[in-house]
Symmetry: C2
DNA sequence: CGCGCCCTTGATGTAGATCAATAGAAGTGG
DNA sequence: CCACTTCTATTGATCTACATCAAGGGCGCG
């Protein structure tokens, strides 16, 4: 499943720490990292498994090492919607709350670095500098979520799809699976059409039609359902209805 | 403009502190409150004025004392969308960032308790307990924003409108303008139709039609464009497509 | 080989946007 | 205080993007 030779986590367990938790690693001293090492465990979750159910007591937090975790909310009438996607290096779990308002599910096979929530909360209490970084990370996340909300609200389906493909393209680059700046970078969509459609507030059918349109207009070339070659990045950006700068802000959530 | 005899703010300037900032007041010691008092100022902003422009250096933070502040994002093609509303006791401003990704505008005449951002950041650095409360508040806010995103995404316009009216009804109660539990509480919508429509991702026309439908079906009675009598709260909740519990979570953002 | 699961493509229906007009409300100046 | 402009809210008529319903088609897996 994983393209990484070694998994790693915010605890610094792996000597070649490919995945850092941005929030935590910046501020943690060597001793602090060692302490984290003692309370954290790397765990694998197969596709579709529930990491944390909605409205259940939440006991674990941590960060994504590999794969994609979807954050979703089920309303009373049964229809649930994806409200967020977590990629490697993203923090997951709900700190300082006994129950999670959302469910965390493995959208692909995932590798997580998990920690006992109360233990990590105690750790934060002992290390205000780390808690400070956590606050900054959450403020950035808040901006990114609002930015995304603005996109899903006011834009057409095509604009949303173009935006998401751009985000995936950049994410792929971050994971060094290919070079975004290459002539024709390959974009990998790790999720099912249903999940993507759900995240975008549309249907698999409309999503499919729009992807085919992008293919017909030579913006992308479809390799298979989950891999596209990005032929015309500028046109993709134009289709998204956002400036490149704004798009990049969403990625660096 | 204000129904409150005395304005007050997180600094505790007013002896009868009606409005507290939930995040800050909980954890601040008396000395800390005094220190806040020294760096904060109550300021009034007329309707429509820009408190903090998008992409401008952000210098002030604080909390809303009276009125409603809208948080909006303008995209490249000119259409801007409201991504959040701030009510009395809500914190505004972007901490730990030199520029704001959103603009803060007075949606009504507003009274704010403002502070110099760097000064408040220094204050937080000196008082980890307060910063801890700020983190918890932001985590709650993150959940609320995601919850709202799920609503605007997957639900019909009527469901969104019913949800928002419910939120305003509860907010009104919080401000003691009326009693939500009264037989027929009066709901006050302080915003223009355009702003509400924008926040809900719809148009003033459809908003108006749906409000008239709610009136025809005796869920509300329209007093004037900005004041409704809530005749059937249960039906309103049913129309929202959410459980009452979920709705209440949105309000206590 | 055949069953089941996604993805795609087609045909049809509809919620809500858009266009257009009117009616109030609120402010402005004489 | 009354014309006059201006802005917002409502109502009506039409149009369209997208959901929904309904088949196929490709691919993996037992």
């Amino acid at each position: 499943m994983t393209e990484l030779a070694e998994v790693s986590c915010l605890c610094g367990k792996s000597s070649s720490c490919v995945v850092h938790n941005k929030a935590v690693c910046q501020a943690a001293s060597p001793e602090a990292m060692a302490q984290l090492g003692r309370i954290s465990h790397v765990r694998e979750f197969p596709w579709g498994s529930v990491i944390q159910a909605q409205a259940e007591p939440c006991t674990i937090v941590g960060n994504v090492v590999d794969g994609v975790v979807k954050l979703s909310s089920a309303s009373i009438n049964g229809d649930d919607h994806i409200v967020g996607l977590l990629f490697p290096s993203d923090f997951f779990g709900r700190l300082f709350s006994d129950e999670s308002r959302f469910s965390y599910e493995a959208a692909t096979d995932v590798t997580l670095c998990t920690m006992n929530r109360p233990a990590f909360e105690r750790f934060l209490g002992d290390h205000p500098a780390v808690e400070h970084e956590m606050l900054k990370a959450k403020l950035d996340e808040l901006d990114a979520v609002r930015e995304w909300a603005a996109i899903t609200n006011g834009h057409t389906t095509m604009e949303r799809i173009a935006t998401l493909i751009y985000v995936f393209a950049k994410r792929s680059r971050n994971q060094h699976l290919n070079n975004f700046d290459a002539v024709h970078p390959v974009v990998h969509l790790p999720l099912s059409r249903r999940d993507i459609a759900d995240y975008l507030g549309t249907t698999p059918e409309t999503l499919s039609r729009n992807i085919q349109t992008l293919s017909r207009t030579k913006v992308i070339r479809i390799l298979d359902a989950k891999h596209f070659e990005l032929l015309d990045a500028n046109e993709l950006i134009r289709q998204s209805g956002e400036s490149r700068g704004d798009l990049d802000k969403i990625v660096s959530s």
